[in-house]
Structures are given as C-alpha cells and as structure tokens.
Symmetry: C2
Subunit: 352 residues, 2 copies
DNA sequence: ACGATTTCCGGACAGGTGTCCGCGTCAAGC
DNA sequence: GCTTGACGCGGACACCTGTCCGGAAATCGT
C-alpha cells in the first residue's frame, strides 16, 4: 500500500502478455477486456480491471497505432512560444482539437529546421499539420508542397500569401483601413507609422489598407504618412517604439496620429510622447495592434485592433475537420477573418 | 516537377517494402541504407537516397519505436498556456531537450484530467514527465506516485511541497525576504499585501519570508502587514490589483509599501494609486513578482522579483539528465533557485 | 448424467521496422 | 576457366496489439 519504499510493490507490467500471465488468463482474453468485447463473464472482467488498476498498466500506443490506420493526431508548428497572440491561438486550437479526439504534437520553428520538424510529423503519421505564425516564405512553401504530395491535410494560420496553401488569416488590410478611417474621422491628416515600412513586402497588406483609407479622403500615402524604420534597429519592441517616436519628435511638424505595428511598439511610443510633455490623446493619438492584456493596463488605455482569435480558430477547425472528413480540396482555401477595432482612450480629435 | 497538378507525381510510399519495390531492391537492403550499415556499394546507397529524396519517404516512427527500447521523448504537463513565465520555462526547456535529442510531448492540464494526460504519456512510453506550474496538490501527488511505481523519471517545476517528488522551484521565501529587506531599508514600516492572504496554505512560503524579514527588525506580521484578499473576487489580475488598492486607500492610515503577488496585480494597484493623486515612489512604493516585460514598460518601471528562468531550467535539465542516465535517486531531489530582486523606480524612501 | 451453452484458451495473422544469416550472383584477379 | 571476394537477396525472428476462429473446458439446465 505504501510504496515506493515497500518491498512488495506491484510488478511492472509493460505488455498484455505479462498482464495475462499475472492474472492467469490468456493474452487474448485480456485484450478483449481492454476493448470491451462481449462474451465475457463479469467476474473475469472485474479480475482483469482490478489488476490493471493495481499495476497501472498502459497498453503500448505504438503497437496500437501501428495497426490502426488513423493516429488521430495533428502536428502544430509554432513560430515561437513567446508571442502572446500566437499562444492564445495555440491554446484554443489545442483545446478544441482535444475536444474532437485529436492529440497535438507541438514543435517550435527554428530557421532551417522546418524540414526536420515536418519529417518528424510525417514519421509520426499525423493526419494534419498546422503552422501558426510567420515563417520564411520559401521554407514554408516547400513544406506545403511536401504535405500536398503526401496528401496530408494542412493549414497555415496568420502567414498569408503562400501558393497552394490553405490559409486562415486576419484581414490586415481591412484592419488598417478601419483604423485609418477612425483616425481620419477624428480629423487627423498626417500620420506616423511605427514599425510599418512603406515598401517592405512583408507589410504590403497593411500599407494597402492604409493607402485605401487615405485615397478615399483624396490623400496620398507618400505625402501624409511617414515611416522611420530604417533608422532604428528593432530588438525589444518597446524600446523600438520609443526610439521611433523620438525620431518623429525631432521633426519640425510631427504627425498628430501614430499607427504602430503592434501593442508593444505603440506603448513604447506613448511613453516617449509622455516623457516629452505631450498628452494623449489631446496632443497625439496612438494605436496598437493585437489587443493584448497590456492595452487596458495603460494610461490611457490603448486603442488597438483585436485579432478575433476565437473566430480565427473556429474557422481553422472548420477547415481542418472538413478536409479530414471529406478529403483534400481541389483548390486551396483562403479564409480571411474580419478584424475589429477596439476604440479606447489613446485616440482623440486632432489638435489643430 | 510541378505538382500538385501534374499527373506524373512521384508515388506515395509509406513503407520500406514499397520503397524497395520502387527502386528494385530488397527491403532489407533499403533498411541497411537507412541505418548506415556497412558493406554496401556506394552506387546503390546513392540510388536509394535519391528515391527517398524524390518520394519524401519517412519511416514509420511507430514501428521503429515499437522495436527500439528508448523513445527519447519526455512528456511536459503545463498548468496553462497563457501565463508568460510558464511559457518562457516551456520554451527554454523544450529547446534544451531538443538539443539533447529528446522530443517533447506537451499537454495542458485541466482539473481532473491529469490522470488521462499521464496515461497518454505512459502509453507513449516517455522516458520522463515534467510538470510546470501549480496544480491540485492531491492530484499531482497521485501522479507522482504513479510515475515512481512505473520507474519513470519525473520532475516538478514550480509547485513545491509534493511528497516524494523531485522538485525545482524558486525560493519564494527568500524572494519575499529580500524584497522586504529592501523596503525596510527604505524606511517602510507598514505594508499592504496584494493577492497574498496571511493564512492561505498555498502562499505560506511567501508569508514565511515576509515574517522573517519583519522579525529581524523586531516587527510583528499581524501588526505591520495587512491583506484584503477576502473582500475582492479575483478574475483579471489587473482589475483585482486595482480593487485591492482602493480598499487600502479607504483606510485612515494606509500602508506606505505594497507587495503584490505578481506584476499584473502590482500594476493594477499602481494605476489605482496614481488615479488617486498619489505619486510613485514619492508617496507609496509598489513591488511585483515575475519580472515580465511589462515591468519596464510602466511609468515608473516596476521593482520586482526575477524568477531566474535560465538557471531554473538549467537545474531542471541537470536533474533530468542525471536521472535518465544514472537511474532514479533513492530520495527525492529538491533544488531551490535563489531569486533576484530587480530594483527599479517604483520603490523609494518612505514618506513619513 | 447428458446435451446445450457459455466462457476461455491458444494459435494465427497483420502492421512496419531492424537485424541476423545462409545462399545466390556477378565481377575481378590469377 | 577457376577461385575469391564483394554484394545483394530473401527468409526468419522480435517488438506488441487487435481480431478471428476452432477447439477445449467449464457451467447450466433438465
């Protein structure tokens, strides 16, 4: 009763054969008990189950899964395990997959190692592979081709624009469009972009949205929006935003509204403005992206874009389950999730 | 060359037998190539490897692991996937395990499901199980007993006080002791505890540290420290800290220094004090716990306790590797990690 | 006590891989 | 042309489980 010290601890049993020997039954009989097959005397069922409870026997999953066709597992490849929105997606996806009877294999991406990770997933015979986050485009495309060749269901969450890839992603153009509409309605006409370069391909979508909103008001992107990204190295986002804001403050006529790549950068900029004696939102407006918990913890609370994680994962599950049940689609699926602008107190009417 | 549309795509191959048929060799020969056995002509080796590259064949891990004794995998049971410090531990542990050739199986704890999770780990024949975070003590103890019985290496990170469990944990008593020494040296003599009840068993260790620091100055815990935990429900930590601080502000003589359970609560309290017109650290001092990124993003930056995650995981890996190589220890291992107080600008000399 | 029925045994196979071993084959050396 | 290697073939076994099936044994009813 009291291990681990006691000498008469129950024996370690690692196979149904050993368990059968232990209870004095045939291996097949034990197997029948484990799989709830009919035609067994209640007394023997109970005898086996008691032995299982005592010894804590667990059937070898490898032998079971070797035989059965479906492993009921999906591989999840994460960009990293530190960015809050990525983790919220992982957490809810993992929970929902479990609810559908699927086990998750989680691996973390490292540059150049995506092939190793995918081979691991394939050798574990996962039924689907999900990528969450942003990756090297060439690498990711190569992995998708591999998955297509192996007829394994796949899905990319967030990273947008991979050919042949089934994708669920936030509509970042629409997000920027809505945010800019909000700022334009408040009277702002000159904008500072924080961490969003005007020409970099990875942020093209956001720029499109910004340009569209400006164009609707007869404004030109180059004339009314400015970006200082080349000047500052991006290490810690908070310091990055802080440094970017100081660049803008050195201008003769700084913009009145600032749109940041993410919440941390926005908060770093807010700090820089406040240190300079400016009041938010009286003198300048600042917006973030992601709607992390810190947004409400700021003074003033940060206006930002919500990623709509629940709908995103819901759509992801729909795509996954549909493909797992009905087979691969003939053409790649693209589902864009409409974002939502969360207006708080960091944005207000333009000063002049 | 251009699938998935092309008709002459390479065939799907799922076993060495099929691969052998495909290249016109014997299955055993293919197997020998895969396992780098000697005595093969270089030309045939290359022929097989070319076929593997073309078809993307991956040997079935279940069959391999069914035969081989060691699975080189460890199960990691997480309290949740949302708390930043837990995730930093997971991320670094996972990276280091991979560096040692181990695969991680990650599962998320849910009350009452720990048994299911452990059975999954055991059926996957993991070589070790790691728990990260705080769990139901009774449940965790039962799981540890199960692991001991199965002679599976285990380790508990954070949760302290489980009998027979190998544990690596931050010395929370010492953390509170150091923090209180810092505040006492600044002249503070009356303290508010935020989220740390005076009598709750789960926070006993911290209270010990606080009491020890007070006793060294001839002060009594009950007389000089106060906690309002029962009055407020704890949902979001930030709002919780905010509400707790308001309780203290309603007192005739509020404390001058506040020690919070974690950073979020501390920040909520800071906000409440600042809204009330108090300056930090001129009028009140506030301290947090965890040293999350947000600490440096506050105005003023938050004095807090650093969890020393790198040393923690380093110690964890030492324990794990030692037990994996040399077998289980006769007595449970307990390694406590000395914390470090990070002094920033949210603490200063007592006003009166 | 006998037949009918329930219950269990034990052999067999499949699933994919790693490994061992005897044997056939082919080419090179003499 | 013969011997000697080098090399590949293919059968066999082990790992563990799930399942089928014929036969043996125990149990039950009468």
């Amino acid at each position: 009763m009291s291990f681990p010290d006691s000498k008469n601890a129950p024996p370690r049993i690692t196979s149904t054969a050993e368990l059968a020997r232990h209870v004095g039954l045939a291996r097949t009989t034990v197997s029948r008990v484990l799989n709830r097959q009919p035609g067994l005397k209640p007394s023997t069922i109970e005898r086996v189950q008691k032995a299982i409870a005592e010894t804590g026997f667990t059937p070898n999953a490898f032998a079971t899964l070797l035989k059965g066709k479906g492993t009921s597992s999906v591989g999840i490849c994460m960009e990293n395990l530190l960015t809050p929105p990525l983790l919220r997606k992982l957490a809810t996806l993992q929970r929902q997959l479990r609810g559908q009877g699927y086990t998750s294999l989680i691996e973390v991406y490292a540059p150049g190692e995506s092939r190793t990770i995918l081979r691991h997933f394939l050798s574990m015979r996962v039924e689907a592979v999900v990528f969450i986050g942003h990756f090297d485009a060439g690498e990711l495309e190569a992995r998708i081709r591999e998955l297509l060749r192996h007829r394994v269901v796949h899905l990319v969450i967030d990273h947008h624009g991979i050919p042949h890839a089934n994708t669920v992603t936030l509509d970042r153009a629409q997000a920027m469009r809505k945010m800019m509409d909000h700022l334009l309605a408040l009277g702002h006409r000159s904008f500072g972009l924080l961490g969003i370069p005007l020409d970099h391909p990875s942020h093209l979508e956001r720029i499109h949205g910004i340009r569209a909103a400006l164009a609707a008001q007869g404004l030109d992107l180059q004339a009314s929006a400015r970006s200082f990204d080349a000047q500052c190295v991006r290490a810690q986002d908070f310091e990055f935003g802080h440094a970017l804001a100081r660049q803008f403050l050195a201008l003769k006529q700084p913009p009145t509204a600032y749109v940041a790549l993410n919440d941390e950068i926005a908060i770093g900029a807010m700090r820089a403005f406040q240190e300079d004696g400016l009041a938010i939102p009286r003198d300048v407006s600042v917006t973030g992206f992601n709607n992390q918990d810190i947004c409400t913890m700021m003074a003033p609370p940060l206006t930002t874009v919500d990623q709509q994680i629940e709908p995103t994962i819901k759509a992801a599950m729909q795509v996954l389950m549909s493909h797992l049940r009905n087979g691969l689609p003939s053409r790649p699926i693209l589902r864009t999730i409409p974002p939502e602008v969360i207006i708080r107190q960091s944005t207000g009417r333009a000063a002049r």
